[in-house]
């Protein structure tokens, strides 16, 4: 069954009526001692309407899917679930927020809480490894995407809550909310969306919708039986070719643009005839290919996550330049012929015309499925063939001798009646960082690549409850993580939140469900976690997060009263010149001539050297003297201006982008400069090889004020 089938299978999970044997937790409320000494069921003693009812034990539902489905053999179970559901998944009902009514002066009641949504319940899931998720109240009726709880390989949602309504009562002067009818019994029904393993051996959690959610094991089985029945119906529809392919249709298909990343090729007619006539099914060489088609992807707009610099400067054309036909046994299994390359994909850099190609075997093993293409320096593209053979369409040759046929022996049904075109779908990833050796995830559609090139598609604003942006003052960091849609590997990136904002490139869920987990941490604040998917236009998401104070560290509202903003300052004019004067002699071992304020006297190379050193984080640190903490920064791409001197372009400014610095606060800038003698003697690799130039910087409304530059020996641990 193809990925598409499995994907469809789970997407189409349907809703059936709840069963008595469904996923349900029945429990009692925890009793409270009433003023007269009896036990009653109520909110806690001084009841507030936003309080909750505690649930007595036993209050759990244990799901051991492998045990529940023990009648399935291992192969069948693992085909769907792999080892995901080994062990016990425990759903625990801990608290309920009931619908509550307040007493009016006239003795009547009015609804005050959960009037629109009905009661809410808190279900905590504990995975077999002991991890459990955070408590969250959910109602049964307000089903919007945010009402799902995702944890581990499952999503779950509450479908029904049975609990009495609570009414305000007074016992003496104390106010109580009491259940009516006075029944302590509560019941919560829930449904589960089961993640599954696809052919690429990774967990896929289907889209969150009621249609995907099962309320019992028999519903799950009924669904699976029905979907496989539909697969039989579908496959049997084509069991014999009911209509011979018309060459016109082959032509139309060949011309058709694909949304997938796909290359195609068509062998020359005479070479094809020869292959059929001679039962020759070796690779069609480049000279035997009549036409090849593939996408042209413009990567020129792609900028690095870490520096913002452009990573590519061209579009790239993809072609299939040779391929092997597919060999089947009479029973339909694919003959794997190791050592024979199956697809040869060529990438051409449009600007330069430079072309690279690489041969890849398909459906043999993971390691042989990908190839790296490098164009000048860091311009790297990695291609990976889909593992699923069904996604590589080739002309068929049927080997009657069950896998033992070498070229030239009798073949049966050789390529009869089929388009002879080859279609190879691939996934690609590109470098997304300039300074780190990190790549993006593997993408499978053109749209995903285009989205990546357009820039970050998740923009996050982080504030405290008062709406004040959080940033470096509270060491605010944001992390996104997700599994690579092709390899299943975890991709995770953490960034500092600067001036209350941070942005990420994130994958879109065009073909696969790709849950993206966002985590935000800040000193003195409760961490924030959210899981979502980008599965519809415009495949972008703006997220506003208000962090709650944790009561430790800097409190909400106690952030320094300064204007918190992103600063573009520093190294304008004299500052950068000073840096060049200090840095270059150490770096080159040569003293620069004294030129006063004439910036144009220094060659551009000197400026570039300093700029590159800054950019690579080799020589500069900004430190908060109060905490001793380093302040993160990024560099803007280029100089802000230039002038001409002797035909040379001389930069006048270089710009460093600092985020979330406090106004009127003194920071210490440190420049680490190699000692010339050490530099001459070899690699600079310890603090003893360095001198430090320090200068105090203070950002004011009117600009940067800097103290005198001072030079000293570097100290241990400083570099």
């Amino acid at each position: 069954m193809s990925t598409k089938h499995i994907f469809t299978l789970f997407l189409l999970m349907f809703v059936l009526a709840p069963l008595a044997s469904g996923f349900r937790i029945v429990a009692n409320m925890k009793p409270t001692e009433m003023p007269d000494g009896t036990l009653g069921y109520t909110y806690e003693t001084r009841y507030r309407s936003d309080s909750h009812v505690l649930i007595n034990e036993p209050n759990t539902f244990e799901l051991n899917l492998r045990e529940e489905l023990s009648m399935l053999n291992s192969a069948t179970f693992e085909k769907i679930f792999d080892n995901l559901y080994n062990g016990v998944y425990t759903f625990k009902l801990t608290r309920i927020e009931p619908t509550s009514y307040r007493l009016n002066d006239d003795g009547s009641y009015r609804c005050v809480d959960r009037c629109n949504t009905g009661p809410k319940a808190e279900l905590i899931l504990t995975l077999p490894d002991g991890r459990h998720n955070n408590p969250k109240f959910k109602a049964a009726i307000d089903k919007v995407s945010g009402d799902w709880v995702s944890f581990g390989p499952v999503r779950y949602a509450i479908t029904n809550i049975e609990v009495a309504d609570f009414y305000e009562n007074y016992i003496g002067s104390d106010r109580y909310y009491l259940p009516n009818p006075p029944n302590p019994r509560v019941a919560v029904d829930f449904c589960i969306i089961f993640g599954y393993i696809n052919e690429r051996r990774r967990t896929v959690i289907p889209r969150a919708s009621m249609e995907n959610c099962f309320e019992s094991i028999d519903e799950l089985l009924a669904f699976l039986a029905t979907k496989y029945s539909e697969d039989i119906v579908f496959s049997a529809g084509d069991v014999l070719v009911s209509e011979g392919p018309s060459w016109a249709q082959c032509d139309i298909d060949f011309e058709k643009e694909s949304e997938l990343l796909e290359v195609k090729a068509r062998p020359k007619q005479d070479k094809w005839d020869e292959a059929v006539r001679m039962a020759k099914f070796n690779m069609f060489a480049e000279s035997e290919i009549a036409e090849t088609r593939g996408p042209t992807l413009d990567l020129a707009g792609l900028v690095a996550e870490d520096t913002g610099n452009a990573l590519f400067d061209s579009a790239y054309k993809f072609d299939l330049i040779s391929f092997s036909p597919k060999i089947l046994t009479p029973t339909g299994t694919i003959v794997e012929r190791k050592g024979i390359p199956d697809a040869d994909i060529k990438i051409t850099e449009v600007n330069s015309g430079e072309a690279k190609h690489s041969r890849m075997d398909y459906h043999i093993s993971d390691s042989e499925l990908q190839a790296q293409y490098s164009f000048g320096g860091k311009k790297q593209i990695i291609l990976r063939l889909y593992q699923n053979p069904a996604e590589i369409e080739m002309p068929y040759f049927v080997d009657e001798q069950n896998n033992n046929c070498a070229s030239g022996c009798p073949l049966y049904g050789v390529g009869v009646g089929h388009c002879k075109d080859a279609y190879v779908r691939f996934a690609m990833k590109v470098r997304l960082f300039e300074n780190e050796n990190k790549f993006s995830w593997f993408m499978k559609t053109k749209r995903e690549v285009q989205t990546l090139v357009q820039g970050p598609n998740i923009n996050i604003t982080v504030t405290d409850l008062g709406g004040n942006p959080l940033g470096l003052g509270s060491a605010t960091k944001a992390t996104i993580s997700f599994n690579d849609p092709v390899t299943g590997e975890l991709y995770s990136i953490t960034k500092n939140v600067l001036g209350g904002t941070v942005s990420f490139h994130a994958p879109i869920s065009d073909l696969d469900e790709i849950p993206i987990t966002l985590s935000i941490t800040a000193t003195g604040y409760e961490p924030y976690n959210e899981t979502f998917v980008l599965d519809s236009e415009p495949y972008k998401k703006d997220i506003v997060v208000q962090l709650q104070s944790s009561g430790a560290g800097p409190q909400a509202g106690t952030e320094p009263e300064v204007t918190v903003s992103t600063k573009y300052v520093v190294f304008s004019y004299a500052a950068f010149k000073t840096l060049v004067e200090n840095y270059v002699p150490y770096f080159t071992g040569e003293q620069l001539p004294t030129v006063g304020d004439d910036l144009t006297a220094y060659p551009k190379d000197s400026y570039i050297a300093v700029y590159n050193a800054l950019r690579d984080s080799r020589i500069f640190k900004l430190v908060d003297p109060e905490t001793g903490q380093e302040v993160p920064y990024s560099l803007d791409f280029s100089f802000t201006g230039s002038t001409q001197y002797n035909g040379k372009e001389i930069p006048l400014h270089v710009v460093i982008k600092f985020g979330n610095l406090y106004l009127n606060k003194t920071y210490q800038a440190k420049f680490f400069l190699p000692v010339p003698s050490r530099l001459a003697g070899g690699t600079v690799d310890s603090y003893e090889d360095l001198k430090v130039v320090t200068v105090n910087w203070r950002f004011t409304e009117s600009g940067l004020i800097e103290s005198n530059w001072q030079t000293r020996d570097a100290q241990s641990g400083e570099w």
Binding site: M1, F14, L16, A17, L19, E68, L69, M71, L72, N73, T76, K79, S216, I217, D218, E219, L221, A222, L224, A225, T226, Y228, S229, E230, D231, I232, V233, S235, A236, G237, D238, V239, L240, V241, S242, E243, G244, L328, T329, P330, T331, G332, T333, Y396, V398, Y412, G413, G415, V416, G417, H418
Partner: protein, 195 residues
Amino acid sequence: MDKRWKNLIIVFGVIALLGFVYYLYISRPSFVPEYSAMLTLMEKYGVDAKQFPSALAGISNLSEPQLEKLSTELKDFSNKTNEAWLKDLALIYSDFAEMELNRKKLEKASLQAKSLTASACERVSLFNEMKKRGGSVVKISEKLFQATSDFSKKYPDKTAEIKLYVAPTATQLARIRESYKMQSAFVGALGEVCK
């Protein structure tokens, strides 16, 4: 008339006659009385059986009672005909009609399983029906695969003439087998859960 012209006319006449004979018995070798009878039989159902693809497409469009009837009639025809290749071809069409019948019944049962609001356990008999139909589809598919393979080997000329394509059958068959394995496993498990 000049003798030469007469000879020329005779030559052209013979060529035309040979051409007509070729058209009747060689280029359309199926144009034999028995083949014609099978075509007529299938035409009654609106099926154009001159070529394999159109025959299959026509059979697929028939209703369940028509499929049942056609399958039986083709079996009878196969028993009666003396042409070996026609005997085999009629059986292929008969089996295909039977497979289509089971496929349609399976499709109907699947739709019912999805649309009914009764619990899965209350619908166990429906799932058993699905399993039975699925089994029949697999069994006949296997048979068809073998029969078409044998046909193309035994009668390569006829295979080409009627465009009997078989190459993708192997892959499709593997898919059907796999799906049936899973379907029957889940129906079996459902039966156990619902006990």
